[in-house]
């Protein structure tokens, strides 16, 4: 789910940037550092505004100036039970991987309806039934997130398509 979220970040600025342009430099640094990253629980999609840039303080021993910046950003946070759409990136014999934005979700065989069977025909592995439903690399899939775990800057998720209205999307 997408949110607009307010956050704070402390960023050091190298002395060579100390000039009247220092606030711009620090802004740029913030964008570079934070946009598109994963905080462990959420993904920062885009910074939409900077609320405040504090007075810098020189960090003892380094000469770097420390700015505390509070900013507002669009973030994406997946939740357990959430239904999301994604693109299948790889199919293996015990399930398939779906890229939901930057999150990689694994859908295991137990979470796939039993009529979808694994096949290796033509060397492209896929899960397919006889009624035209097919899950192969590149197809769009709607799934429910069954579990999420986050480690430092990383998120793992397990998905399921074993429910009504879930599974491969018709193009």
């Amino acid at each position: 789910m997408f949110f607009v979220h307010e956050m704070e970040e402390r960023i050091p600025l190298h002395p060579s940037y100390f000039s009247s342009e220092a606030p711009d430099s620090i802004r740029e640094l913030l964008y570079k550092r934070k946009e598109g990253t994963n905080t462990g629980t959420m993904m920062i999609v885009r910074i939409i505004g900077i609320l405040e840039i504090s007075e810098p303080k020189v960090a003892p021993g380094t000469g770097m100036a420390l700015y505390t910046i509070s900013y507002r950003a669009v973030v994406w946070q997946p939740f357990r039970g959430e239904v999301v759409d994604g693109e299948v990136s790889q199919v293996v014999n015990n399930g398939f991987f779906v890229d939901v934005g930057a999150l990689s979700v694994f859908v295991s065989k137990a979470m796939i309806p039993s009529q979808l069977k694994f096949s290796m025909e033509g060397a492209t592995p896929s899960f397919a039934d006889n009624e035209g439903q097919i899950v192969e690399a590149g197809s769009q899939v709607r799934l429910r997130i069954k579990g999420i775990r986050s480690e430092l800057n990383q998120m793992y998720a397990i998905g399921s398509i074993r429910e009504d209205y879930l599974g491969p999307l018709m193009q």
């Binding site: 015990n94 859908v107 694994f118 060397a123 793992y156």
Partner: protein, 864 residues
């Protein structure tokens, strides 16, 4: 899942009350039973004096046992009053989810976090339930791990699928097996220059770049690769398993298999392989490898897995080797590349010197060349960094194999890898070699014999590459370094097909051997029962392959000589292990059973000479023969590979080396030194013209040689003193050779049976025996008519020997090299003894020699 009491309980414990019944649903940490245990504690007591005093007392405490698992309780193996004395199985709990498939620390089936330590009660880590990685995976850290049970299930499914498609699995290595890659810019330059001699060969070389890497990689397919892959994909499900990086593997796979129709996503690179430097089939097929065949140019990285078909390494970019070899254990190589006379060499002779080598002579070795060259080509020249070449000590090997365990060494490897590539970029080994070739061409044109020519010859020889047959009067011709003439894949394809056929033939047999009626009944439905039965009867591809392979060199007894580097245990050497997988028996010394000696063409070692003396029984061949057998899976004709065939018993053969000697171009002093008396004999035999001069010259060399290499290897007629009568020496020698030839064959026969051999050893003392033998011989020998004249010559010879015999005995003391050969000679002399009994002088001489013979012969026999 079974529930055990943990080791940490204060045993013995006594069950006092059961809290749950089988069939109950239990949640995590639910109490299962009450128990009591005893322990000693300090308690304060007031003693008789009224003081407080600590006292150790044993007390019984009550406690409750809680289940760490959740699910439904299927059985509870406890009774009230039971005393548990150690870790005991107490219950069986059917879990709702066994967490058998995990992804990123999550159970893929229920979504629970497996890395979380659930409670104070857990004894088993959630992540321990699924530890096997079976996916060739792009996800790096987030791999899908599965449990043993799940793996078995998946494996069965995969096998059923393969059986339905009538396919086996083929694991393919990339570098030097199906392709070769290099980063040398020279290739790019040559490729865009049509005037370059290598232009033709480079036409279909592809180039690519890796992300985050400025180097251009040049990729050469092994000839026939596209057809090979296409053909094989009908019989095999193909996997890539390489020690290259993920990016490299993906790009190369895309190049050799555009559209990924053949390999799909089944690409495993070193990024997924973990820190080890070996490849393990278990990584991809953890349960059963009975339907897997591997092709790789390295046997050691697979620990010579029985599923492996080792192929001859593809070496197109000469001197480059495998650019990813830093991630592999060091490669053992044969010490000496088999030197084959190259076209270049043959060509040079007429150019450089005015030798009149007739074209017929040139052609014969050429034809042999074509066959011989290819298999020997894969003996790669040293890799660019010298470190990767040559003898690899066992310690080194172990260090390098064990070293790959931690990240640091992986870093080191990467560093080493980068350095290798950098040095390749900087040094441009290909360009250098081509320059040498060009220089040599120039020189050759001017009719000079120069160091450059020598060097170029050396290079060509090292490569063992076939040079295109070009008329040497072609003025513009420059020799091209790169050759595109590999046929390995053709043979490999055939072999793989025959493995496939044999496997399914066996499989069908297994199925029909089972309950035919039932199978037939079940077949249409493809019921599970039937396939399970199929799986039980599944033949093993490894066994089938071994059976096919061991027929190839079955009954062949090999001796390696001058091929395996000194100081290396023969039986651990790659080539030797490889030969053994084909059913050959390898011994260190020549024995009665030896059938082939694999030797180096440059060096005539003691073993070669020994083998030559056994007559035609032992084939002396270059290692090219062995590689041809390996590649074609059949015992190929030895004749094109025979070397040192100028040994006396095989008659004079037009070996190129021999001609070179005649022309006097290539006879370096080394080679001269390596000459032995047998060669010398032969020379004089064939070409009576230069008889005395070279033989005398060689004489000293021979002595040295023998002293060095051949302590008990020699023959009566090989005594150096013999050279003294050079007048009728040639004629005598010819006849003697012939005579000995028949004798030697005879004397070989007893080797087969102990019975006769003992008879033979005693034949000096029992003339009757002799007579018989002699008669039999006379019947056999076609030359019986000339016996009289021959004997006279012999007599003469022996007369003049009387003096030389004295010399000989002193020489014999020196080195024992003159030690007279075993029964053959003894027999021979005995024969003379018998028929010319009146010749006293001769007899005395012979007696002296005979005495010696007896000693030596006895020794020799004891050994053989």
């Amino acid at each position: 899942m079974r529930l055990y009491t943990p080791n940490g309980l204060l045993y013995p414990v006594k069950v006092t009350r059961l809290l749950r019944q089988p069939g109950d649903e239990i949640e995590e940490n639910a109490p299962l039973f009450d128990y009591e245990y005893k322990s000693k504690v300090l308690e304060g007591h007031i003693n008789s004096k009224g003081h407080l005093e600590d006292k150790l007392v044993e007390r019984t405490w009550p406690a409750t046992f809680e289940s760490e698992l959740e699910g439904s309780l299927t059985s509870l193996n406890l009774t009230v009053g039971q005393v548990l004395t150690g870790k005991t199985l107490i219950a069986d709990i059917e879990e709702t989810c066994k967490h058998e498939v995990q992804f990123g620390g999550l159970c893929a089936n229920c979504g629970k976090d497996m890395k979380e330590v659930k409670s104070y009660n857990s004894t088993v880590k959630g992540t321990d339930r699924a530890t096997i990685n079976t996916v060739h995976d792009r996800h790096g850290m987030h791999t899908v791990l599965v449990s043993q049970d799940e793996t078995v299930r998946a494996d069965e499914e995969a096998k059923r699928r393969l059986l339905d498609q009538r396919k086996l699995t083929l694991v393919v290595d990339l570098d030097q097996t199906v392709i070769q890659c290099c980063v040398e810019e020279t290739v790019g330059e040559w490729k865009s220059d049509p005037s370059n001699p290598n232009f033709e060969a480079l036409k279909n070389v592809a180039s690519f770049r890796l992300p985050h890497d400025s180097k251009t990689y040049y990729l050469k397919f092994r000839p026939g690769l596209t057809d090979f892959l296409e053909e094989m994909s009908k019989y095999y499900e193909m996997h890539v398993y390489t020690m290259a990086s993920r990016d490299y593997a993906q790009i190369v796979t895309n190049l050799i298999d555009p559209g990924r129709k053949i390999f799909g996503t089944r690409v495993l690179s070193r990024d997924e392989n973990g820190p080890e430097m070996r490849k393990a089939l278990k990584r991809l097929f953890p349960v059963d490898t009975s339907m897997v065949v591997i092709i790789d140019d390295r046997g050691d990285v697979w620990q010579w897995s029985p599923n492996l078909i080792k192929v001859n390494a593809y070496d197109f970019f000469v001197g480059v080797g495998d650019i990813n070899s830093s991630f592999l254990p060091k490669r053992q190589e044969l010490e000496a590349k088999p030197k084959q006379p190259t076209q270049f060499e043959l060509e040079k002779a007429p150019d450089g010197v005015q030798a009149d080598a007739p074209p017929a002579d040139g052609q014969e070795p050429q034809g042999a060349d074509k066959a011989a060259r290819k298999p020997s080509a894969p003996l790669t020249p040293p890799l660019t960094p010298p470190a990767a070449n040559g003898e690899v000590s066992a310690v080194d090997l172990m260090v390098s194999m064990a070293g790959g365990q931690d990240d640091n060494s992986m870093e080191e490897k990467k560093h080493e890898h980068d350095e290798t590539l950098a040095s390749q970029l900087a040094d441009r080994p290909l360009l250098k070699k081509q320059k040498i070739l060009d220089a040599a061409d120039e020189e050759a044109k001017e009719g000079k014999d120069s160091p450059a020519v020598e060097e170029a010859t050396e290079i060509l020889r090292e490569e063992g590459e076939k040079k295109e047959a070009t008329p040497h009067d072609h003025p513009k011709y420059r020799h091209n370094l790169l050759q595109d003439d590999d046929t390995e894949l053709t043979h490999l394809g055939n072999n793989l097909r025959s493995v496939h056929d044999a496997f399914f033939a066996d499989f069908e047999k297994g199925v029909s051997a089972g309950d035919i009626g039932r199978v037939a009944e079940l077949r249409p439905g493809k019921s599970k029962k039937q396939t399970v039965q199929d799986l039980q009867n599944l033949p093993d591809a490894a066994v089938i392959m071994q059976a096919i392979k061991s027929r190839v060199l079955g009954g062949v007894h090999l001796v390696f000589s001058g091929v395996v580097p000194l100081g290396v245990n023969v039986h651990t050497h790659d080539t030797v292990i490889w030969a053994k997988t084909f059913g050959a028996t390898v011994t260190e010394n020549i024995t009665k059973k030896t059938t082939h000696v694999i030797a180096s063409p440059e060096r005539r070692t003691a073993k070669v000479r020994q083998a030559a003396k056994k007559g035609g029984r032992i084939a002396i061949v270059s290692s090219g023969w062995l590689f041809a057998c390996f590649s074609q899976w059949e015992k190929v004709d030895e004749n094109p590979f025979r070397i040192h065939s100028d040994a006396p018993l095989n008659g004079a053969a037009g070996l190129p080396g021999f001609e070179d000697k005649e022309a006097g171009t290539l006879s370096s002093s080394d080679e001269e030194a390596a000459l032995t008396e047998t060669e010398a004999e032969n020379e004089t035999d064939g070409e009576a013209v230069n008889g005395s001069q070279p033989t005398l010259e060689i004489d000293t060399d021979v002595e040295e040689e023998l002293a060095k290499y051949a302590p008990h290897d020699g023959r009566a007629d090989s005594s150096p003193t013999e050279e003294q009568q050079s007048e009728d020496w040639d004629a005598l020698q010819a006849e003697l050779n012939e005579f000995l030839g028949s004798e030697a064959e005879d004397s070989d026969a007893p080797d087969e049976s102990d019975n006769e051999s003992s008879a033979l050893s005693s034949n000096n003392s029992t003339p009757g025996n002799h007579k018989r033998k002699r008669d039999a011989e006379a019947d056999e020998a076609p030359t019986t008519n000339s016996e009289g004249s021959r004997l006279q010559k012999r007599k003469k010879e022996a007369m003049s020997r009387t003096t030389s015999l004295n010399n000989m005995s002193s020489a014999g003391n020196l080195d024992g090299a003159v030690a007279v050969d075993e029964p053959a000679a003894a027999d021979d002399l005995g024969g003379i003894d018998e028929e010319d009994g009146d010749d006293v002088d001769l007899e005395a001489a012979l007696a002296a020699e005979l005495e010696k013979d007896d000693d030596d012969g006895g020794e020799a026999e004891g050994e053989s």
